[in-house]
Each structure stands twice: as C-alpha cells, then as structure tokens.
C-alpha cells in the first residue's frame, strides 16, 4: 500500500491511469464485453434446441436479415424485417417530433420562470419516473380503452357520437412513447436554455429584430445542443421500445424490440436475434455519424 501511495505521489502518468481506470473498467465490463459477446453470437451457428454451437461460424444470420431462401435454394429479398425496422423508425421519428413540439415550449417556459419556481418545475417533470414504466403503460390502457376516461370525456362533451378505437393502434403506441420519453426532451433543452443570457435577446431587439426573428436567430441556435441531445435521447430508446408496443399496441405489429425478443424466445434463434440487434446498432451509429459530420459546428461559431 505504501509503495502504491508513493507511486501515485511521484508519477503523473500513474495518477492519470488510476483516475481513468474505473471508467475504463466500467465501460469494459458493462459495454464492450457484453457487446463483444453478442457480436460473437451473431456469427455463430444456431443450436438445434436454441442457444448456439460454440466455435461453428457462419454469417447466415446476417443473410437471413435481408434475404430468404426459397425451395430451390435461391435468395430473394425478405421484406418482413425491413418493414418492422421501418415501422420502428417512423414511430420513433414521430415520437421525437411530437416530444420536440411539446418539450421545447415547456422547457422555454420553465427557463423563463423566476429561479425559485424552476426547481419545483424540474421536480414536477421528474415525478413520472417514480413509478414503474409498466404501471404507467397500464394506466394508459385504462385511459384509452373504448369505455376509458378519454372516450367517456369526449362522449360526455358531445364531441363524438360513439367511442373511437384508440387502444391497440399505432396512435396508442405513439401516445405511450411520447408520454414515456417526453422528460428526456424537456430536461436537456431546459439545461441549455437555463444558461441563456437574456441580454442577447434584448440586443437582438435593439438591432431591429422582431420577436420571431430573435427567437429563430438567437434562442434556437443557443438551445441547439440541448435540442440535439433531447432528440437523440428520445429517438434511440424509442427504437428499442418493447413494453409499449406490447401493451398499448396489443402486440398486433412488432417493433424491433419485440422482434429481437421473439428470436431469443419462441424462435430459439440466438444468432438472428443478435444480428438484428447489431443491424440496429449499425444503422443508429451511421445516422449519428452523418448527423455529426453534417451539422456539428465548432461551439464558438454558434
């Protein structure tokens, strides 16, 4: 122990190494190791009864993602998985757009409140996290079903003649996703707007900008890091959503999460499940890279 302390005191590289080590270990154990294992599983031969045959390699799972083999052994494009991926991306994108539309004004409003109210408002935004996601999704079932709160209210107000079918549709899935992920949009945008120097807005007005122009040219660019972070934090978890399509969508159509689960479950095809997860990862990484290259500017230029 004494030698260790001594080393720490004398050597700067050793100190730096020791400080980085915990982070590296956590990334190594909780990210690289499981991901590496899954990557390996995705190129293994499936076991007859499920599981994998260790040491027998094949890229079959990746071929099966895009193509199917007909009786004559010819490959043709298999639209099923692509359609499920497309649905997931569309639903996630719509979720992200709605979250942004609701989340930005909410965050802006919060940021403009006197300081003592802000903490209360943040507190209110985080309250849903106190309850399990599953329970909150069940609550939405009670609200959306044909004799549920929403339909009863609309009927009572005379806005509709008979109950509208909301539950077990894509609309219900989107509502559930927006509800689940909205705080992830509000909080980062709030964080970037909170630091907003209002004198910059005043300066814009002094220089002849109207409200709209000041908002678009000053407020939005300054909030951009928060908007980008919020969009990513909403979009990517939505892609992997699993409980919401099952409960609010009535399992009538799959999202990527359900597809992967079915491969590890009833289909007993681990390699395909792992390959699907990696296809998703690759698409997301690609999209993020394009985004970073296309939109990222040095902070000073903001």
């Amino acid at each position: 122990m004494g030698a260790f302390v001594d080393l720490m005191r004398r050597s700067r590289p050793a100190r730096v190494g020791a400080l980085i080590a915990p982070a590296m270990l956590i990334i190594g154990i909780f990210m690289v190791l499981p991901l590496g294992l899954m990557a390996y599983v995705s190129i293994l031969e499936r076991g007859i009864n499920g599981g994998v045959q260790w040491g027998v390699h094949t890229v079959e799972a990746y071929v099966a993602f895009l193509f199917e083999e007909n009786l004559l052994g010819e490959l043709s494009v298999n639209p099923d998985y692509i359609r499920i991926f497309a649905r997931s991306f569309i639903l996630s994108f719509v979720t992200m757009a709605i979250c942004l539309t609701i989340g930005f004004p909410a965050a802006f409003y919060m940021a403009l409140q006197p300081e003592k109210y802000r903490n209360l408002l943040i507190f209110l935004v985080t309250i849903p996290f106190w309850t399990n996601l599953l329970v909150r999704n069940y609550a939405w079932i009670l609200m959306l079903r044909s004799n549920g709160l929403l339909n009863e209210a609309l009927l009572g107000l005379g806005l509709i003649e008979e109950p509208i079918e909301l539950l077990y549709t894509n609309v219900a899935i989107t509502i559930g996703l927006v509800y689940s992920f909205l705080p992830f949009m509000v909080l980062p945008i709030y964080a970037s707007l909170e630091k907003l120097d209002l004198r910059l807005v005043e300066a814009a007005f002094d220089l002849g900008a109207n409200k709209r122009r000041a908002f678009l040219r000053v407020v939005v660019p300054l909030a951009m890091p928060g908007i980008a972070a919020g969009c990513i934090l909403v979009f990517i978890p939505s892609l992997g959503a699993f409980v919401t399509p099952e409960l609010l969508g009535g399992s009538k159509s799959m999202m990527i999460g359900n597809l992967i689960q079915s491969q590890f479950g009833a289909a007993r095809n681990w390699p395909l499940g792992a390959a699907l997860a990696f296809a998703l990862l690759a698409i997301v990484l690609l999209a993020m890279m394009v985004y970073l290259m296309r939109f990222r500017r040095p902070p000073s230029a903001g």
């Binding site: 499920g50 599981g51 099923d80 009535g250 289909a267």
Partner: protein, 346 residues
C-alpha cells in the same frame, strides 16, 4: 475508485449467492408465474424445515435460454412436456427416478409414461391442461359451434371482440388444427395457408396478449379469448356465463413437469419436494389454486366441488379423442412457424 469497489462488491455478492445455495435446508424453485399456491410453500417449509426461494418465468423458452446461458442455482424447474425432451437432450437436467419415489406409484396413466420421458426417469407430473377458447355466452346469440371456425372466421358479433394468446406456438397450432395440417408441417404451401388464415383473422383480433386473460374476460374487454383451461376456470369463478370450448378439429393438451437441473445445488431437497408434491392432498391444494388437473391417484376427494363440476377442468370423456399432445417440431418446421408469425406482425 469507489465505483470499481462497488462493482467488485456486487460481483462478490453474486458469487457468494451461488455458493450459499449449497448450504443445508434450502430449495430454489423456478416456476411459471402465478402457478403455485403460496400457502402450500409455507406448508412445505413448516413440514420439512427446508426454506424455499421462488423465482418465476413466463415461457418455457425464457427458462431454457436462462439455463443455456449458464444460470445455476435452481433446484426445481417446471417445464412443459416438449421442453422436457429438449432439456434431457441438452443434458441440462439430472435423473431423479420418479417411479421409485415413495409416492411415485400414485401417478395415473397416461402420465406415468409420457412420450417425452417414457420411464419418468427425469421428470414428475405437476399439472396438465388444454389450450382452447373461452367465450361469454351472455354476449353471444345462441350457442357457438365447437370449432376453431368461430375463432378464425368469426361471426359478425365476435369481430373485433376476440383476444388471442400472444404465443407463436399456440396460435400457429390452433390454425394448423383448423386447416387439418400437421402442426409440425415442413411444407411451405401449408405454412402459407396458415399465414393466409391468420392474416384474414387479424383485423377481427382486438389484441394478442398472454397476460391478464382472466381479468380481460371478466372486465368484458373482449367476448372471446384464446385461453388455457385453468385460466378459463378462474374466469368462470367471477363470470359464471363463461364457456370453455374443446374445438372438434383438435386441441393441444400439455403437461407441466418437475425436473431437477444438472447443476442443482440441493438435489436431495429437490427430490424430497417433488415426492411431497406427488402426495394426493398436497397436489390437490395446487389444483384448487391453479384450476388445472393433476395426475395423482386419490387427489379427487380433496378437490373443490367447483373444479370437479367445471367441464373446462374435468374434461367430459367424449372430448378425449380431440386432445393433441404438445410436441417439439423440427428446426425446419420451427423456421416456417417463426416466419409466419413474423410476417403476421410485420
């Protein structure tokens, strides 16, 4: 450093947990959720002094995946018949020689020699049941035909009022029975016909859900539910107009069995538990709770009257030739089945 310490401590606790299971007087039961009466566990603990820890799963495949991934520390698991054969094949379980247990002789035919474990060397029966259909007779004009037709080609009043189990195997099997195919068919044409049937049915299906089938029926959310017979019995307790159908084209019957994993930490306690559960009075308590029949001679006198009076549980003999065993299919057949299921939901 604090976080690394935490990680190290967490890892240590996990390892210690696996080690502690070796201690005397413990039993780790891994069972389906909501499938064992809590009072009965307490009774077992009181009678034997063995402390039981219960963990639950929602499908055979979940349990299989966990064992294949190397999960250790379970003493007793409760797989269905086809999964028994797979577990034996994979070498994940150990022989327990059920027939030579003190209560082994009480197992009634045909459960003493099932196709998946003909000598009952590795497994002992727990409950058995069927996967059929329940409907609320109060909300349907007249009586429904005893056929899958009512499910797959529903009359108008049932359209949009049907819930199916969210279970690839059960839904596919039912469709195969209705069309008169082998449920393990390897013919792409037959699989296509099954897909066509399921796709035509889908607009009339309100949802695919395996959880909460009982509550859904009682709340009147749907009129008809693809359901297990025990769940149907529990539905009928609160909804007396519920009727369980044995479709004439065929209905899957399954057996759930006790088994002991190869690396069970307390195999002796596991066998003691299994023999205890073969006792007519004990297993009757389980039947009364789950709503399923057991396979033990002499348990009838301990069963609730409601259970004995309900044809969903106490199957009338004339339906016996409609029963089809739940079996595992070849890789090719399973591949077709999963493609049908994925396309249905794509």
């Amino acid at each position: 450093m604090k976080r690394m310490l935490m990680a190290a401590v967490a890892a240590g606790v996990l390892l210690a947990g696996a080690g502690a299971a070796k201690a005397e007087g413990e039993l780790f039961l891994y069972n389906w959720s909501n499938y064992f009466p809590p009072d009965l566990l307490t009774r077992f603990e009181a009678e034997t002094g063995i402390a039981v820890t219960l963990d639950v799963y929602d499908s055979n495949e979940t349990m299989l995946a966990k064992l294949q991934a190397g999960a250790a520390g379970y003493d007793v698991i409760v797989p269905s018949g086809y999964m028994v054969a797979i577990l034996i094949d994979e070498g994940l379980v150990q022989p327990i020689d059920t027939m030579s247990m003190p209560n082994g002789g009480l197992i009634v035919a045909p459960h003493d020699a099932p196709f998946f474990d003909p000598e009952r060397k590795y497994s002992a029966p727990y409950m058995w049941g069927t996967t059929g259909v329940t409907y609320d007779s109060a909300r349907v004009e007249g009586e429904l035909e005893e056929s899958w037709k009512e499910v797959f080609e529903p009359r108008e009043e049932l359209q949009g009022e049907i819930a199916m189990l969210n279970d690839e195997v059960e839904v596919y099997n039912a469709a195969a029975y209705y069309l008169g195919f082998d449920k393990c068919t390897e013919s792409p044409e037959e699989a296509q016909a099954i897909l066509d049937l399921l796709e035509a049915q889908k607009p009339h299906v309100k949802m695919y859900q395996s959880d909460g089938t009982i509550d859904r029926m009682i709340a009147g959310e749907v009129i008809m539910h693809h359901q297990w017979n025990g769940a149907s019995h529990r539905t009928k307790n609160d909804l007396p107009t519920a009727v369980y159908v044995y479709p004439k084209e065929g209905i899957t019957f399954w057996t759930d069995n006790f088994m002991v994993p190869a690396d069970a930490p307390n195999p002796e306690n596991a066998k003691r538990f299994i023999d205890w559960m073969l006792d007519p009075e004990n297993v009757a308590v389980a039947s009364n709770f789950t709503g399923y029949m057991n396979a033990i001679d002499g348990s009838a006198e301990f069963l609730d009257e409601a259970l004995k009076a309900n044809p969903a549980v106490n199957m009338p003999q004339e339906y016996a030739d409609r029963l089809r065993p739940s079996i595992d299919c070849s890789v090719e057949a399973r591949e077709l089945r999963n493609r049908v299921w994925t396309r249905l939901k794509s």
